[in-house]
Assembly symmetry: C2
Homo-oligomer: 311 residues x 2
Amino acid sequence: MAELVERARAAEPRAVARLISLVEDRSPLLREVSAALTPHVGRAHIVGLTGSPGVGKSTSTSALVSALRATGQRVGVLAVDPSSPFSGGALLGDRIRMQDHALDDGVFIRSMASRGHLGGLSATAPQALRVLDAAGCDVILVETVGVGQSEVEVAGLVDTTLVLLAPGMGDGIQAAKAGILEIGDLFVVNKADRDGAATTRRELRAVIAMTDRADGAWKPPILLTTATTGEGVAEVVDEIAAHKAHLDQSGELTRRRLARIRREIEGLALADVQSRFSHLSADVRLDTLAEQVLSGQADPFAAAESLVESL
Amino acid sequence: MAELVERARAAEPRAVARLISLVEDRSPLLREVSAALTPHVGRAHIVGLTGSPGVGKSTSTSALVSALRATGQRVGVLAVDPSSPFSGGALLGDRIRMQDHALDDGVFIRSMASRGHLGGLSATAPQALRVLDAAGCDVILVETVGVGQSEVEVAGLVDTTLVLLAPGMGDGIQAAKAGILEIGDLFVVNKADRDGAATTRRELRAVIAMTDRADGAWKPPILLTTATTGEGVAEVVDEIAAHKAHLDQSGELTRRRLARIRREIEGLALADVQSRFSHLSADVRLDTLAEQVLSGQADPFAAAESLVESL
């Protein structure tokens, strides 16, 4: 394991891929991987990229990778597909994604399916991010489709959240409903060559001005890009760096990371408790309790209480 | 509480609304509510209704309510909005939904926001369903937007899952990707007056024929409706009843309900454990452990272990 981690730290792609696979498959070695990585993490700037289907997330991610590479930074990409709860692997494999960067050894790209079980995305992604971090990535982009709770979930995994919109799709009410205004540190209106980009930006600015931000100092910029041509993407890279500087100076980086680690520890502890539930003696086993509730002999709260007390 | 439950059982709307509010607000009385309801639940047939935005879910729900009422059944509707993790209440209030049924005392309609915390939809909805069940509803429709994992989540809450599609939206790959083929007991192609409805049905039939179904006997029917005119909706009601009969005869109803109750008990137990985590002594408190992980003194797994052991 120590050797594998050393090879990953030397940015050897196969070692990085192997470690992420161990994490994704929840290998029994997971604990050992995590312990071995611990001294080598905390350097990467983790940036979440979210938005509704159709705003151009993959193209934007690819354009951002190019722009980040142009500044000499090493880049990791974790593409999460939350629409696939049943699949064990993402539908879009690593190989067919972002072929532009396939031969660049300063870029690691990985797709992950977020599973349907407890914790979902949040259960495996932090460990995968730790691997990319230890492998020397300066920036790690976490790309996810912004549906349901997944965009809020992704904001909980990253240092900086970038929300992508497209003209005509991002009117104020939609944005407010999806809860993205609260989570966005940067807003990017992509497809800026289309009609309505300026209107979308104006509307967005108006609704953002109305949201309360406890973190007073940072005003989320709203940028325009055309990811297909790369227009405006360098400015996004600048703003990502500016937000990182703000996080560092304000102490907000430490606060966000501590909150993230707290949630991660709590999630791991709850998963541990859950696995203990399945090893209890027959009279307090979930099956028995469920039968009592079905037959009206117990209510669910009383059943849950006996379960916890028997730990 | 006993009196409130009695009034709800007598189908008094204000008592039903009050009980659901207690559930939704996670009132300290929740346990008492749950215990008082326990002897009176298990009769209602719970039907989930899911589909992508734009397929006509609200109109279909309203048309189904009319068709169910025409057969003399009492109907409950729980409309869940999973896109609103921050809001404490759904954006569409109960009053502006489905005004056609506002004066019908055989119908209860309730909107709920699914929150962003652990368990989401699955944490409060079962209790709300229990209230509607005890209030004498013969059928309860649970309507939710089919995005991300929410449609899989809703399938876990109901006896019968109805998946809505519209012409041109439901091609095989999309459906397979969203995981809806595995969860659907009934498929309804709405907007059947539009071009392509027959094609969508044919494609859907082809992909459904390819899915493995452990429960061999039931072949999910694919129906055509025009919810705005009510065309085809009576047939959907017939198929809902046919599926209920199949569930009863095959023993699958008991299996599904036991699995559901098991998950509910487990969810309540984990929430209880989670609340205990926040009452631990300072040296094993989450804050302290998170700081150790951030500084590289501990890995998240070791931290989670100390948390569980200190319970």
